[in-house]
């Protein structure tokens, strides 16, 4: 029983990190119907930002999340301005392919600039700490990331659902032309959405160097899992992506422990198929 609870906790914690990574993707996808293939690479770059701040200026990742969030906000907005903008209204796969190229570019640019070495921040505030509750162990960095995930996802959800900007976003997502006619500057909405989506993953990446090593390939699997979470949760639904993230984390952890570790990702991808075969538009989709 204790082991089961521990496995469950591990799964929930990593699931909430997935949710945070997925939230940004979900936003972009929901509003613009664009699959951003470079999402995992955003995460990787955010981790580099946080790592270099920690390494050169001794800033702890907990603080660096502000900088990495801001950095990826700019990167996201630039991605929109320089690339995605030109693919709007073109064949639906154009944006996906362009971001695939972008992912390749960013990954190898980092390889080129920062070497392929595995970089680890030692002596971070959270790095080694754990909380114990009876025999159950809560690793501090994952716990912090999970809390951060709750806060950020909640904040984004609140902004989207109950501010004027959020309504503009929703209107744009439903029908861009109609929104334009209503006086919404949809171009600005798109830039901001890409930026905010980037900032979410930037914040996630910012805290990760507390417990993960940084290297050019680190984002790939996170990116893939984020796709799964977003689609499983239902097109553009942030609560859906959050729930799906946790579900993915738990299934990964439980299957990894009770079946076999090599089956954990098979179980995750299988879970997605099972969910969409039952509900073709995802958990919260309509």
């Amino acid at each position: 029983m204790e082991t089961f609870l521990q496995v469950l906790i591990d799964g929930m914690l990593s699931g909430m990190v997935y949710a945070l990574v997925a939230a940004g993707l979900c936003l972009i996808w929901g509003v613009m119907d664009v699959i951003n293939f470079a999402h995992g690479e955003y995460l990787m770059i955010a981790m580099y930002v946080s790592y270099w701040l920690g390494f050169l200026a001794n800033v702890d990742p907990v603080v660096s999340i502000v900088a990495s969030g801001a950095f990826i906000f700019i990167l996201g907005a630039l991605t929109y301005k320089l690339i995605i903008h030109y693919t709007i209204g073109k064949p639906p796969l154009a944006a996906l392919l362009a971001t695939f190229g972008l992912a390749m570019l960013l990954k190898n640019l980092c390889l080129n600039r920062f070497s392929p070495n595995f970089l680890i921040l030692s002596d971070t505030w959270l790095g080694d700490k754990t909380f114990q509750l009876g025999n159950l162990i809560f690793p501090a960095p994952q716990l912090a990331a999970a809390i951060l995930s709750l806060v950020v996802v909640g904040l984004v959800y609140a902004v989207i659902s109950s501010t004027r900007f959020g309504w503009a976003v929703q209107a744009t997502a439903m029908d861009r032309d109609a929104a334009e006619l209503m006086g919404i500057n949809t171009e600005r909405v798109y830039i901001l959405i890409f930026g905010i989506g980037g900032a979410c993953v930037g914040i996630a990446g910012g805290i990760m160097p507390s417990y993960l090593s940084v290297h050019p390939e680190v984002g790939s699997l996170f990116g893939l899992i984020a796709f799964i979470c977003v689609a499983m949760g239902g097109f553009g639904s942030i609560p859906g992506a959050f729930l799906a993230g946790i579900l993915v984390g738990v299934v990964e952890s439980v299957a990894g422990f009770y079946i076999a570790p090599v089956f954990k990702y098979i179980a995750v991808f299988g879970l997605y198929l099972a969910v969409v075969f039952l509900r073709p538009k995802g958990i919260f989709g309509w």
Binding site: G101, F235, L273, G282
Partner: protein, 340 residues
């Protein structure tokens, strides 16, 4: 898109094929084995992308799962040779049949999904197959299958020193896939596929069983993909799951077709003819520097191509065609002079 049984474009195609068939006879061409290698890859990936084009381009179902079928074909040939010590041919056939069967089984539920849900589902299937094959010891698991040194020749579909035979084998695959698609274009089934792409409900209302059409297109596409996969493993003499069943591989087929122009006969060839040399030559030129310079440039070029010409190379050819026939200046009022 009315296609007659034989028209002027087909004559151009035949002339082109004849030129391809004669190319290895030119000593200056055949002597350079790297150029032959690039040509073989162009033909193979053009064929492979054409197979994808059947379902992705003509039928409008964007699948990222084709590396699964590619991989099944590769494993069919690989296991026939490595595990059972025979010739690859029975494996090729079994692989094609099996790929078609798997395609039907996994596509049937997936076709109920729309848009991105379908695309992500095919992602998931690739990952499941990839990781499943990695732990499945009967097919070699993570160790993969390595070919022993066996006799060269058509029986073993393997040649050691010369690439000319491989070239002709790749050309054969190219002709088969392009021939089938050309035939489909003028055939009733081809019209069904395009009708489904343009609007499933409309197609249904006209009496087209869209599920049947999609499944048939998918299994044909998968069988051809398996054929290409079998050639790929015979060419590389090794197969393991990351080599053949990976998202990277799937993306390559999609990328080539979209960049060339999806849903067109010439698109996959154009895409492969641009993308494959780009990939091979940038790597040959800059890969050794380390630091992924070749991949940086490759990624940048993909972005530029997509941003500048989302309709694919075929769009460029069309506008070039208009340019040369002088239609364009009439339509656009000499705008071409502005761009420099």
């Amino acid at each position: 898109m009315q296609r007659k049984f034989f028209n002027g474009t087909d004559a151009v195609w035949l002339a082109f094929l004849a030129a391809l068939a004669l190319a290895p006879l030119v000593p200056a061409f055949a002597a350079n084995s790297f150029r032959m290698h690039v040509m073989i890859l162009i033909l193979l990936f053009a064929g492979m992308s054409q197979a994808w084009n059947i379902i992705g381009g003509y039928c409008g179902q964007v699948s990222f799962g084709h590396s699964v079928f590619f991989g099944i074909g590769a494993y069919g040939a690989g296991m026939a040779v490595v595990t059972y010590g025979g010739t690859p041919w029975p494996g090729v056939i079994i692989g094609m049949v099996l790929a078609a069967a798997v395609a039907v089984v996994i596509s049937y539920p997936c076709f109920k999904l729309s848009g991105h849900y379908f695309a992500i589902a095919t992602f998931a299937i690739v990952e499941i197959f990839n990781r499943g094959f990695l732990v499945w010891d009967w097919v070699g698991g993570a160790l993969g299958l390595d070919y022993p040194l066996i006799e060269e020749g058509l029986a073993n579909l393997m040649w050691h020193d010369s690439k000319t035979e491989y070239y002709y084998a790749a050309l054969a695959i190219f002709i088969v896939t392009f021939g089938i698609v050309r035939w489909l274009e003028g055939h009733r089934f081809g019209y069904y596929m395009r009708a489904v792409r343009e609007g499933q409900e409309t197609a249904e209302s006209l009496g087209v069983n869209s599920t049947a059409v999609k499944l048939a297109a998918m299994s044909l596409s998968a069988a051809l993909a398996a054929l290409c996969g079998a050639f790929f493993v015979q060419y590389n003499l090794r197969v393991d799951p990351p080599m053949v069943m990976s998202l990277d591989m799937s993306m390559k087929f999609v990328l080539i077709t979209i960049l060339g122009g999806s849903g067109t006969l010439a698109g996959p060839l154009l895409g492969a003819a641009v993308l494959i040399p780009l990939q091979e030559y940038t790597r040959a030129f800059w890969g050794g520097l380390g630091g992924g310079v070749d991949l940086i440039i490759f990624g940048l070029l993909i972005i530029i191509m997509v941003v500048k010409q989302p309709a694919g190379m075929i769009g460029i050819l069309r506008s070039a065609g208009k340019f040369f026939s002088g239609k364009k200046s009439a339509e656009r009022g000499g705008e071409a002079h502005v761009s420099s």
